[in-house]
Each structure stands twice: as structure tokens, then as C-alpha cells.
Symmetry: C2
């Protein structure tokens, strides 16, 4: 089924203990699309400024990503983010954020994309997520990401969004912030009560926890990889693998959701083994499938 992502396009500078990646491509819509494209065709909606040095057609060559919703806005500047990872590779400091085009009006969903059935609203201001969602006529599955900034500053809009989505994806500290509960199962229950049918809490290197409105629980460790070079984009790549798999299956029952979370996990585990999108120069769908089977057997008892 058709899969739409709305999200950011960025120019990142990332420092990790393994090196520096300067002015590389980033942004949630980019990472998501790349991860999802292994599973299903992707429709990308996002905007960059005319300062953006990347050739998107070249970048997504051989990937099934429709760039009709990619706007290069003249006179605008591209979103920029500089970050430094701590030696544990889980904590990071933001050295610089320039919202630039993200502080302007969002791009529109092209007419050809408005019939999208599976929709992922990557992290941005919840009012914009709602505005983008309203341009999709009859979505079957809507999943959104959010972050501490909106939980702290745009709570009212976020609560409005929560009534319009099927699933929320957020990390553990954000789940605690949103719910006020420190226990993640309790936090997930509180978030479900706000509207979504399921919530997926990302715990970074510690894996994920899924809770549904029927109190179904699924818990998955991360794929244990030794070779973590740059975790930037792991969350969006996870979401890409997950939503891509669901779109490829055309359903989102509990079994499919569980499988999609495992596919998201292993897709992200590959991404982080190099800077920016470099890992996708060599990694293939077969690598993803192999890790999926490996993860399965690593957990079997």
C-alpha cells in the first residue's frame, strides 16, 4: 500500500568518538525514506532551501522514493543541526540548531499523494503534523513521532494530534515527560489513554516496548551490534523499516506490528554502522533479512 512520510531535510554536522561528518545529509524524512524504501515505495514530503548542496535524485537513485513532494524553496535556508555524541553513543549534545525552513510554512502534500494509505508524520511541531495530515483524504494507518520540545511547549496541539493518530512513536525519556510516569509500562498506558491505539517506546540501545489499547505488550531488545559509528537517524530509520514493512504487508494487526518492529530494529542497526547514509552504499535487503533472522534466533529460548 502507499506510504507517505512528512518530515525534515537537514544538513548535519555530527561528531562521534569515531570521527566527524561535516555538512552531510540528514533529516527525519531522508532517514525514514531510505529505511522504508527497502520494503515499499515511499512518497516523501519535505522542504529544503536553495542552499541545499545535495542531489536528491542521485541520492535516491535505485530507491523507490517518489520526490514529487520534495520542495526546494528559493530564498530559504535548509535546516541545520550540529551534534556531538558522548562515548556511550546514547547521549548527545546539540551544538547548533538552525531551524531555517522548518520555521516557515510546511510544504504541501501533492495531489498525487493525498490518497496515501499509510502515513508517518515525522517529528515536527504538532500543529504542522495536523496540517499535513489534514491533506491526506482517507489514511488507513497514521503514526506520528514527537519530542520533548513539543511536549514542553506545544502540549495542547500535541494532545489534539493524539486524537487523530493510530500510533505514537517516542523515546523513553519523552514517554516519561509526556506521562509523568517513570515506569515505562505505566507511561505507555497513560499515553494510550490520550488517544492512539498503540504506543511504541524507543529505548535506544535497549530496544523497544510496544503497548496497545488492548493491553497487548511486545518487547524487543536492540540488535546487539559492536560497530556503532553514528547513531544519528536511528529512530527515523527504525520508523522507516517499520512503516515500510507494514505498507508492504498492507495490514497492521498485532502480528504484523511485531514483525515490523523487528524489521525496524535491524534496519536501524545497519544504519548506525557508518556516518550519515553511508551504510546504505553497501547494505542490502538481504543484510536486513539476515539480521532479522539473527535477531530472532538470538532471542529464542
Amino acid at each position: 500500500m502507499s506510504l507517505l512520510v512528512t518530515g525534515s531535510i537537514g544538513i548535519d554536522t555530527v561528531k562521534t568518538p569515531f570521527g566527524v561528518s561535516e555538512d552531510c545529509i540528514g533529516g527525519s524524512a531522508i532517514y525514514f525514506s531510505m529505511g522504508a524504501s527497502f520494503f515499499a515505495p515511499v512518497r516523501l514530503v519535505g522542504a529544503a532551501g536553495d542552499d541545499c548542496p545535495f542531489d536528491f535524485n542521485e541520492l535516491f537513485k535505485d530507491r523507490n522514493v517518489d520526490l514529487e513532494g520534495l520542495e526546494i524553496r528559493s530564498g530559504s535556508k535548509t535546516f541545520r543541526w550540529h551534534g556531538t555524541y558522548q562515548p556511550n553513543m546514547n547521549d548527545r549534545d546539540t551544538d547548533l540548531v538552525e531551524l531555517n525552513i522548518l520555521a516557515e510554512a510546511p510544504p504541501s502534500v501533492p495531489a498525487n499523494f493525498q490518497d496515501s494509505e499509510f502515513v508517518f508524520l515525522a517529528n515536527t511541531a504538532p500543529a504542522l503534523q495536523i496540517e499535513l495530515l489534514e491533506q491526506v483524504t482517507s489514511p488507513k494507518l497514521v503514526v506520528a513521532d514527537t519530542m520533548d520540545l513539543w511536549i514542553n511547549n506545544e502540549k495542547k496541539d500535541l494532545l489534539k494530534l493524539m486524537k487523530k493518530i493510530d500510533g505514537l512513536v517516542l523515546n523513553d525519556s519523552e514517554a516519561i515527560l509526556l506521562s509523568g510516569k517513570h515506569n515505562l509500562v505505566a507511561a505507555a498506558k497513560d499515553i494510550i489513554a490520550l488517544g492512539p491505539k498503540f504506543v511504541l517506546i524507543k529505548k535506544g540501545e535497549h530496544g523497544t516496548l510496544l503497548l496497545t489499547d488492548k493491553d497487548e505488550v511486545f518487547t524487543l531488545p536492540a540488535y546487539p551490534t559492536e560497530n556503532v559509528i553514528d547513531p544519528t537517524g536511528a529512530g527515523d530509520t527504525f520508523a522507516g523499516g517499520m512503516m515500510g514493512y507494514l505498507a508492504s504487508q498492507g495490514k497492521f494487526d498485532l502480528e504484523s506490528l511485531k514483525q515490523s518492529i523487528a524489521f525496524g530494529t535491524v534496519t536501524a542497526s545497519l544504519l548506525i554502522e557508518d556516518f550519515s547514509l553511508k551504510r546504505w552504499d553497501t547494505a542490502t535487503k538481504a543484510d536486513i533479512d539476515n539480521r532479522y533472522q539473527e535477531l530472532k534466533s538470538m532471542m529464542q529460548f
Copy 2:
């Protein structure tokens, strides 16, 4: 097969956001024995002072725990620990430690226990762990726990111990401290290189990671429980469930190890639902078995 534990007996005062448990029974040997006794008979070696207010025969009534190795040392004072848990229930502050009897000579392994086949050396100074182990004539499986204190202050003894054990159990921050590696897979590999055939890294609410000297990896999330009242003793209870299950099977091949880790996980998940040992007033082996099946199905995809 016979299972021996050497470890501490303590008088704990524990504060959590859910209340205070004053002067309650604690200590690694106690928590371990209680957890292991659901699976196999346990031989306990530990020492308390004559100030110790607990009736151990009453405590272990109906449990298959042999107290021949329990020494009540006259003129000595029992180990005391006071701790306060943070709202996240993972971090805790130590408010008071009185080593007391733990700073004296360790208890001996009784003659009747010296043929023990499965041995767990709960956390204490590595020189004492070696001294205790040397009293066991021909152990088949020796697993030890350790902590930051010994990694920092008794590294030489700890490295000597590492050559004498089959498995090391420690938590994630300790694995990082011991190896100098922040990535847990890399840390586990370094620890394996020090001697043990397997290392089991406990990540608290995030589960466990097993690595063997054959590069086999097993990863298990914690059982997601909402009802965490007091995590004290969770690690020793985990080890108790694990070693108890292995002793009950009489083997420690990879399959048995994986199952034992899952049993340890769910046994600890019950313990933490009340203060000190109170949860064992009502929880049964059937509760453990139910959670084992639940955990299995929560992870299946």
C-alpha cells in the same frame, strides 16, 4: 545437581517512592537462595552477627534451603545497608553501609557442601570469593558476581578470580568500568578474554545480554512490569533463578543457559513487586512459570 551459594546476609533499610522498609532482611545469599529454591535445593554459606533479629529457619521454612553453612557469629554485628531509590527505580543512593561481619574472615564451606557441583559466588571481595571457591572440591559450573568497588580497588584479585570461573555476572556500568569499552558487546568480548566462558550483563529494567567464548549472543528484555515497589535484591534473585534452573537441569549448554536467563528474569520480576522478600509470601512456582510463558510470547514475532 547440588547448588551452593556464598554471599552476604544483611539488615537493610530501603526507601522507595512507595514507602520505607526498615531493618528488613537482605543480602545477596538470602535473595539468591529464595529465588533458586523454586527450582532446586540450595546450600547457603553466609554469616550474620548475633545482633541479627531474623529467624532463618522460619524464613526458609517450606523452602529447600540447607542452612548448615549459615554461621551466626557471636560478638559480631550483621552487615547493614540503607538505600534510597530515585523515582526511576533504577538509580539508588546508598545512605549507609556498615560492613561489620563482611570485613571479618568469611564463613567456611561445611564438609557436607564441599562436593557442590554448581557454585554461585555472590558479590564480595574477589580474594574471599577465591578463598571460598577453593573449599569446593570439583565444581562443574562456577559463576561469580562482582561490583565497581572491586573493579576499582581489587583489580588484581579480580583478574585472578576471572581465570577460575566459568561465568561472570555484572551490570552494564560495571562491564564498562571493567573493560573500558562503552559498547556492551565489545565490553563483553573483552571480559571473555579475561577468562570466563560466558559473561552476562544485567541492564536492570532493560534486560540482559549474554556473550559466550564462542561468540554466541543472547539478548533478553526484562519482563515489563508496571508494579515496581522495591528493586533491592533483583540481581541476586535473577542469579538465583538462573542458577537454580541450571542446577535443576544438571547442564549448562547454550539452550539451558538461555532458558535459565529467562527464568532468572521472571523470578526477579516478581520479587520487585513488594519490599524485601514479602512477594514470596504469596508468589508460587506457577507464577514464575506463567511469566516465563508470557515473556516468551511477548517477544515472539
